[in-house]
């Protein structure tokens, strides 16, 4: 993917009045200074991107605007009037809506009720009108994707939950709408729909704050971009006046030359098969899945939301479901009964749901990282060596550019992207033979993302089997040597080399049942 994107920004947004002005805002968590003298100016009808590395303070700034956090100092001016926003309720009253980076939905409650939770809260009506809620929820959901409004949220996949979270914000009658990495869990197609909606809202005069680590999105859709670094305000530019390279440089303080690592070289190609999966079936979710993973290559799995990619990989690792079929590692068939066996055999899986399935939020960074195999930081007698555990965390943390206070702090104090890094560090803490990465760079900043890609490539070179699931097509294309496309629980095609284009993958993912496999 090239860096140059045509800017289709709404040019005249600059003439619109300023709706939100933040100046000199600071916020600290104990010793951590998350924001320091930050300024931000938001105009009516503009789409304003915020960029910054993981832990730069983007989410913290948004939480301050939404009244979730109280700033230590600084002013917030809305429509020329200084305000203090003490709670999300007050933010709502001021017309501020917020799509959170961390999905915050009520699992025991229906999709429709979740979407209208804020509305119900302020509603003057005494009684619930479920039929009406469902109707209105269905109408909103229809624009976004296929989700049953009366399903319980707990039954949805993480991407579907992300869509519900977006739908929720759309119901609010707001003038400022914040999206904190809404597309991290979405595929290209859903993202496109989302941008259509965002442009429509901006056209109606709503000011949009848009946070993302995907430069392409920012340059395709936004009018201006503000960059934060280490909790400080760096710069604001019109999109038309800047380039992705400049933004990235402002974010990280240096120039990142290469976004994706080198692909597998021809001379590295090998016919040695690391993993051989054949006829894998699971009653409801996937059928007849067969593929081979060769030494040295990075294999990608593409597909739409709900295609069943995660399910297949979890099935291989015996994490979920009643799976039939065979899995052979280095030619030896494995008999796995439990994920523990998979880990012992050398198969590990990074979950796409880091909060639900990946991390122990209340526990320390170090003990999160060692969770996959505590034995590795313990003596033979089974005694944990705290020093070794700390060192392991520090080493892996450094490798992944983890930004944290101390490795003994709780994971919950980390920014979203840094939490993702902890989850990846956990995978690397064992020396796996095959590593399945489900949306590995979800919410990870450009620099760290490049770093993760490089690590993954190194792993592949060293003989570790790597399978990546990503809904971000440029990533899939940029990193993988070969991509299998999954649709409705079946592998519908395979692309490699020059056939790896967004068009081909999307085609296989959405329409084609049969298409001659690319060589």
């Amino acid at each position: 993917m090239a860096w140059a994107f045509p800017s289709n920004a709404v040019v005249n947004a600059m003439d619109h009045p300023v709706i939100l002005k933040i100046s000199n805002l600071s916020k600290s968590f104990g010793p951590v200074q998350a924001l320091q003298g930050v300024d931000l100016e938001l105009r009516r009808g503009e789409i304003h991107a915020i960029a910054g590395e993981n832990g730069a303070g983007k989410s913290t700034l948004m939480k301050v605007i939404d009244g979730i956090l109280r700033p230590d100092s600084g002013d917030i001016v809305i429509d020329g009037k200084a305000v203090t926003i003490a709670s999300p309720t007050e933010a709502q009253k001021l017309g501020i809506g917020f799509v959170h980076q961390e999905i915050a939905l009520c699992p025991d409650v229906s999709v429709a009720e979740n979407i209208f939770m804020g509305v119900t809260n302020t509603s003057k009506a005494l009684l619930m009108n479920y039929a009406d809620l469902r109707k209105r929820a269905s109408a909103i959901l229809r624009q976004l994707g296929d989700i049953d409004a009366s399903a319980l949220v707990r039954t949805l996949s993480i991407s579907q939950q992300q869509l519900v979270e977006i739908a929720k914000a759309l119901t609010l009658d707001c003038r400022i709408l914040i999206f904190d990495e809404p597309t991290a869990a979405l595929t290209e197609r859903e993202a496109k729909i989302l941008f259509e909606i965002i442009h429509r809202l901006a056209g109606q005069g709503i000011a949009i704050i848009y946070i993302s680590h995907r430069m392409a999105e920012i340059f395709d859709n936004c009018d201006r971009v503000t960059v934060l670094r280490d909790g400080r305000y760096i710069t604001t530019h019109d999109i038309s006046d800047t380039t992705p390279e400049q933004v990235v440089a402002a974010m990280v303080g240096r120039v990142i030359d290469k976004l994706y690592p080198e692909k597998q070289r021809a001379d590295e190609k090998s016919d040695e098969i690391i993993l051989d999966v054949s006829n894998l079936c699971e009653a409801a979710r996937f059928r007849d899945v067969s593929f081979k993973l060769k030494k040295g290559e990075i294999l990608g799995l593409g597909g739409l939301i709900g295609a069943g990619r995660s399910e297949i990989v979890k099935g291989i690792c015996r994490l979920e479901g009643d799976v039939t079929g065979t899995v052979a590692l280095h030619g030896k068939p494995l008999s796995l009964a439990h994920y523990g066996d998979s880990i012992d055999a050398g198969l590990v899986y990074l979950s796409e749901d880091r909060k639900g399935e990946g991390l122990f939020l209340d526990m320390s960074i170090a003990s999160n990282i060692s969770a996959l195999a505590v034995e590795r930081v313990a003596s033979r007698a089974g005694l944990i060596n705290a020093g070794r555990e700390t060192r392991q965390a520090q080493e892996l943390g450094r490798r992944l550019a983890l930004k944290c206070g101390h490795v003994n702090d709780a994971v919950s104090t980390l920014s979203g992207g840094n939490q993702q890094k902890v989850a990846i560090a956990k995978m690397l803490s064992v020396a796996p033979k095959v590593i399945f990465l489900d949306e590995p760079t979800r919410g990870v900043d450009v620099g760290a993302k490049a770093e993760i890609h490089r690590i993954v490539r190194d792993l592949a070179r060293s003989g570790v089997g790597v399978v990546i699931i990503s809904s971000e097509l440029p990533e899939l294309i940029g990193v993988c040597d070969r991509v299998l496309v999954v649709r409705e629980g079946r592998i519908t095609g395979e692309v490699a080399g020059d056939d790896m284009t967004e068009e081909n993958i999307m085609y296989l993912a959405s329409i084609a049942d049969e298409r001659p496999r690319a060589a």
């Binding site: 979730i68 709670s87 915050a104 939905l105 009520c106 025991d108 939770m117 809260n121 009684l127 479920y130």
Partner: protein
Amino acid sequence: MATTTNSVDGEAGSAGNALGRLFRMRETGLILIIAVLFIVMSFASPYFLTWDNMRAMAMAFAVEGIVVVGMTILLISGGIDLSVGSVTALAMVIAGWLFLNGLDPWTASLIAIAACTAIGAIMGFFVTRVGLHHFIVSLAVMVIARGLCLLGTGGRPLGLYTLPLEFKFIGQGSIGPIPVVIVIFVLFVVVFDFMLRRTTIFRKVFYTGSNEKAAAYSGIRTSKVIFLTTTLCAALSGVAGIIYMARFGSAQPTFGVGMELNVIAAAVIGGASLKGGSGTILGAILGTILLSVVSSSLALLDVSIYWQDIIRGSILLTAVTIDHYLNKRRG
């Protein structure tokens, strides 16, 4: 659609007729289990299906059922209250003491209920403002309220035989063939069940209990919700205390020891989660009925007391296991 709706979110689900809806309800399993128990019992004892026995059984759980209502709502919001037994006793003691000191029983009862409500508010304060856990706060209050009962009575029950007839009517009277206590109980259950399923205010209780953060992000003042459910539960315990007083014509400082476990068990059997976010009044009341019918049946059958606990516990375990499988099968 109000009464038989899907219990999880009060929503009717998309498809189907009344029968299908009944089958999908969370409570169906319990209803079936209780029905089986009734059928078995009516064969086992000729006295079981008599009006007098039904009345005696209903009287045994009716007042406690009001506390169950409060506890269920509190559990849904994510809280718990161990003090219900003590607070119930305290309501009796306060009202009884005031009455013996010359106040008319109605005013005395109102003051007692107000006092219990205040205790609930204090618990709510410690939970929402100070940030302590419900368990430990209500445990402390349980001990304190029991102490107040002892202090107020010197440990001796207050004889309130002189309560006026129209007051005793609450606890001892009948409307036609139906005891007033049961009428009051049904009223509370129906009203709160309806409110919990249908009103916007009580839906916030579900949101708060299911994911407090998500609720807060949607602008719901979750501390207020938790404060109110905590207070409501204590207030309903107070109401129960007053009805008990009218029924027994006395105020017993040791009343309700161990009631909390019974009440929580009923709610949990009825589908309430200790983690918050789910539960229904109907289910909780069915749980109460199940526990009560089992106890009453064992007494009616003259089962040896040395066997009663074993049988009671086993039936409880069996019932929740069956209920669990029925629910799992349904989805």
